[in-house]
Amino acid sequence: MDYRVITQEKLPLFLSALRQSFLLAAPVEEEGEVYFRLLEDPSQVYLGPRPSRVPPKIFFFPPTEPLLRYRREGEKWEVFSAEQDPRPLILFGLRPCDLQSLKALDAVFLASPPDPYYAARRENTLLLGISCPEVGPGCFCVTYGYSPTTSEGADLHFTLLGKFYLVEVLTPRGKKLVQDYASFFAGETAGALEAKQSKEASLLAKFVAPPQLTGVKEKLPSLYHDPYWEELAWRCLGCGICTFLCPTCHCFDIFDRGEEEGERLRCWDTCLFKEFTLHTSGHNPRASLSARLRNRFYHKLLYHYERYGVEGCVGCGRCVVFCPVNIDIREVMVEVRRRGSSGF
C-alpha cells in the first residue's frame, strides 16, 4: 500500500480543486444535523463525531429512481431509457461502516446479472473514506471485526493525526487521484502509521460491551416461533426509519408515474410496511407487525449472510440511535444468544 499525508489546511483546498473536475459530495450540517450533500463550499464539510443521518447509499441506490420513460402516440407506446448524470462523483467523508455497507449492497446489486443503474453509479464514483473521530453511542463496528479506522473499500482513506491526515492509497484509481493532485500531498509519512495504530487502539478502548456475534446465526432459527418477537413488536411503530436509514437495506417497489407520458420509478420500500408482502389475492404472509419486525432482524442477522456470504448489518448504529422507541438491534443480539439454542 502507498501512503501520503495532507495537512488540515490543505484538505479544503484539495476538495476545492476536485470540484473543478468532479461532482463532490460530503457530510455537511443542515439545521444542526448531518447529511451528505453535493458540496458548494468545501469549507462546510462536517468532520465532527456524528455520522450522517441518511446513509450514503442514496448515491448508488437513490430513494426514487427512474428506470425508463414512456410516451403514448395514439396506439403506439414509445419507451426511452432513463439517463444518469454522466459526471464522475467523488464521495468524501465515508465512515468505515459506510465503506463496509457497500460490500453488502454490492453483493445484491452486482451479482450476475448486475443491476445496470447501481453498477453505473458505482463505477462512476470514487470513495474517499475517513476514520471516525469518536465512537458514537449506537456504534458497534467492532462486533463485525473491523474498527473506526478501517480503510477497506475506499480508494483513498484519511485519518486525522494531530494537524495532518494520513492518506492511505488503496486502489489504482486512488493512486491516480493523488498523482493528479500531487501538489496537495507530501510523501513523508514517518511515524504516521504508528500514530494511526495508537489512534485505533484508543478508539477501540472506548467500546463498552459491544454485542457478540458468536452463536447469533446458529441460534436464530430456533427462535422463529418465540414470543419474544411479539413482545418486541408491541413497542415498534412499524415505520420505515430503521430500514430506510440502514446503509445495507435495499428493498424497492416499482410503479409508473404519469398516464400518457411518464416514467417508471423504482422507490425505496421496507419490510416494516404492511403492504410490503401483500399479494394480489389479498393474502398477506406477514400480516402482523411482529412477523415483519422479526423478518427485519432475521434478514439483518441471518438471511443476508446465508444468501451472499456477507454480513447484512455493519454495526453503524443508525437504527439504534434513530428508532423513536429505542428498539436496539444490539439488545436483540444479546437476547438471541441468551434465549436460543443451536440446531433444531
Binding site: Y35, V54, P63, W234, G240, I241, D256, W268, E275, V321
Partner: protein
C-alpha cells in the same frame, strides 16, 4: 424524584396483581444515555423497570389501539389528554376498560439540549423546584433551569387534567411548571410574515429531506385510520398509474404532508410526537399549528369541531 417512580411501581404492581388491569403501559430507561422508551408490563414482577421523569417523552395513548378490548392502564401527561379524548372518539374505544394514570409532570426536558451539556453521562432526577430541576450527574448535583432545557411542546403546557373518570388515577407528587406565557403560535406567525418566496424555499428545503418513512403518521394518535390513503392497496407493478405514490420527490412529498395535515386538522391534539420521531427533523408542528390557528380564528369554532361524532352512530369507524 425517586419517590414518584416508587409510587408508580407500587401502583402498577397492585393493579396487575389484583387483576384490575391486564397490561400496564408506562416508561423505562432505554439503551442509550438520556433515552426513555415505552415499557409494557403484564405481570407484577415486571414493574421494576418502570420510571417516571422529565425525559419520558413518548405519548403512549396510541398503543391502546393494539390492545382494544383488554383492560389497560396507561401513563399519560396532561398534554396528552386531548389526543386521548380524540382517539377515544375516533375509534370508539371502550372507556371502561382504560385506566388513565396521570403523571405529575413539571415539564419535559429536551434530550438534544441535555446531550450537548452532559454527553453520555446518565442523569438522576432529584427534585422539581418549579422553575428548575435538581439532578445528579456522577457525584455532583446540578440545577437545570427549565427555561433553558424545556422540551418545545412544554412551553405551551395546557396545565389542566379535566374530564377524568373516577377510576382514573392521579399520581401525587410535588411538581410544578410556572406559566411561561409563550405564544404557542409564535413560529407560525413568524413564518406567515415572511415573503411567499422565502416561505417556499423554507418548505422546499425541509421537505426535500423527507424519506417517506411514515413515522410521523405511525406515531400520530389522530392518524388512526384502518386503511390510510397512502398505503397502496395493490402491489406496485399492478397499480398501473399511481397518483398517490411513495416517490421521494417534492410534489409527492407535499401531497403527503398537506393531505395528512388536513386529515388531522381539528383532531390533532398537538402532542408533538410527529415532530419528535422524524429522523430528519422536519418541523411538522408548524403545519398543524397553522391549521389550528386558522380554525381558532373562525368565530365560535374550537379545535376538535371539524370532527364531531354521535355516540349512537351505528357505524362508528
Amino acid at each position: 424524584m425517586r419517590g414518584l417512580t416508587e409510587a408508580l411501581r407500587e401502583l402498577a404492581y397492585r393493579l396487575l396483581r389484583e387483576g384490575e388491569v391486564e397490561l400496564f403501559l408506562g416508561y423505562s430507561w432505554g439503551t442509550l444515555p438520556l433515552v426513555v422508551r415505552p415499557c409494557f408490563a403484564t405481570r407484577p414482577e415486571q414493574v421494576e423497570a418502570f420510571i417516571f421523569n422529565p425525559l419520558c417523552l413518548p405519548n403512549l395513548v396510541k398503543y391502546l389501539l393494539r390492545f382494544e378490548g383488554r383492560r389497560v392502564a396507561v401513563v399519560v401527561k396532561k398534554c396528552e389528554l386531548p389526543s386521548f379524548r380524540q382517539l377515544l372518539a375516533d375509534r370508539n374505544l371502550e372507556r371502561k376498560k382504560i385506566r388513565l394514570v396521570v403523571a405529575p409532570c413539571g415539564g419535559l426536558l429536551d434530550p438534544a439540549k441535555l446531550q450537548k451539556e452532559f454527553s453520555g453521562q446518565p442523569l438522576e432526577f432529584i427534585a422539581d423546584r418549579g422553575k428548575e430541576y435538581v439532578v445528579r450527574v456522577g457525584e455532583e448535583e446540578k440545577v437545570l433551569a427549565k427555561q433553558l432545557y424545556l422540551y418545545p411542546r412544554c412551553f405551551s403546557c395546557p396545565q389542566k387534567d379535566e374530564d377524568l373518570e373516577p377510576e382514573d388515577i392521579r399520581l401525587e407528587f410535588s411538581t410544578s411548571l410556572p406559566s411561561l406565557e409563550v405564544d404557542p403560535y409564535a413560529g407560525v406567525s413568524y413564518l406567515e410574515e415572511r415573503p411567499a418566496e422565502e416561505r417556499r424555499e423554507f418548505w422546499d428545503r425541509v421537505f426535500k429531506r423527507c424519506i417517506r418513512c411514515y413515522a410521523c403518521r405511525e406515531v400520530c394518535p389522530a392518524c388512526s385510520c384502518h386503511e390510510c390513503c397512502f398505503d397502496p392497496p395493490l402491489p406496485g407493478w399492478q397499480r398501473t398509474v399511481d397518483w398517490m405514490s411513495k416517490a421521494h420527490w417534492l410534489p409527492e412529498i407535499y401531497q403527503y404532508h398537506l393531505t395528512r395535515a388536513l386529515h388531522v386538522a381539528g383532531r390533532c391534539g398537538e402532542c408533538g410526537e410527529c415532530e419528535r420521531v422524524c429522523p430528519v427533523k422536519i418541523p411538522l408542528m408548524l403545519l398543524v399549528k397553522k391549521l389550528a390557528k386558522e380554525i381558532q380564528s373562525l368565530p365560535g369554532v374550537e379545535p376538535g369541531i371539524l370532527a364531531s361524532y354521535s355516540p349512537d352512530d351505528p357505524e362508528p369507524h
